[in-house]
Symmetry: C2
Subunit: 206 residues, 2 copies
């Protein structure tokens, strides 16, 4: 009953993250209903993403001529302060705060077992190279070390475990390691905070 | 921080039905991560939908050379038995049962107020034309009438109201009007049926 074009569309879109066959079918009929010009605008928006590059340094996305993203090519940002995030969207949230003036490493989402896959090992290797190249040699060591690495994995049990794994991997490459602060979200009511959050908020009172 | 291509993608995809800005952002990064060839396959799948036609008779989709869909061009299907559905996906569900051998009208989703918009009025007008052309003249009337029109809107309060509106619109054009059967779904347990469904199931016992 379905023309081939729709079958193909549904087959492809059903496999996209958080789109199932039902939503893919609905999208197909929506796309058909909006007319050829609007449809072309949408397919162009997809196709134009192929011009996006990945930064050879921090693995964040960019569309610059050289191999570096806007953050890595910004000379005003500290090189010896690094934030490691799992997802690009995490980095974007951090950048929106304008409170971080270091550089980043986009690691990719880690498996729940706290194991680094081959891509992630490569990226951590790249960070080690970068630190060796750009940071001054520490008192004790044979290679340079960053002042601080903030390991910004989620503040969940799995995130904590993953942070430990990353820290172990990089232990020689930074003088200090940190995690994002824990506590009650701004605007949050104490009555509704869960026990663990409240416990952390008391310990980290300021 | 976002390159223009990503901004544009998120802007466009955020507006699609049941995709918000967060899912659009996630999709953008997913598309970037899959490589140029896979990305092209996806944009082609979208673009190829422009070859889909709408049947000039029942407004279902097709990719045939002439103006008619597979159902309307099937000579073995009854012309005097019509099912009116709101959505293409409703029609597809009906066709999958292989229990319906008439023709259809895809009306488009009706507003909750039970008001037909201009497109829907046009489509009902087209059905009237078709019935006049293809159905034998009834005993009493000045124009042809179908044997039966099944008004397959949802079996909800709004769906029932919409069915009444459609029926009023077509009252001269069919000898009989019907709705889909109500009752306990196959596999359903009586204990868990809501009161209204059970009531309907008792009334319509067979």
């Amino acid at each position: 009953l379905f023309p081939d074009q729709i079958k193909k569309f549904i087959e492809i879109f059903s496999k996209l993250p958080s789109i199932g066959p039902r939503q893919a079918t609905r999208l197909a009929f929506y796309f058909i209903s909006i007319g050829k010009n609007n449809l072309e605008e949408i397919s162009n928006a997809v196709e134009n993403l192929k011009n996006i590059q990945i930064c050879s340094n921090c693995f964040f996305i960019h569309s610059n001529q050289d191999n570096l993203c806007n953050i890595c090519s910004d000379k005003n940002r500290r090189k010896d302060l690094v934030m490691i995030v799992e997802k690009e969207t995490d980095l974007i949230s951090v950048e929106r705060t304008k409170k971080f003036n270091g550089r980043d490493l986009v690691l990719g989402e880690m498996a729940k077992g706290g194991i680094l896959d081959s891509v992630q090992k490569l990226r951590i290797g790249q960070l080690k190279n970068f630190i060796q190249k750009t940071c001054p040699e520490p008192a004790k060591g044979t290679h340079g070390a960053a002042e601080e690495i903030i390991i910004a994995t989620n503040l969940t049990t799995y995130g904590d475990l993953n942070a430990l794994v990353i820290r172990k991997e990089l232990s020689d490459f930074s003088k200090k390691f940190s995690r994002l602060g824990r506590g009650i979200p701004t605007g949050g009511e104490i009555e509704f905070a869960d026990e663990e959050t409240l416990e952390q908020a008391i310990e980290r009172r300021s």
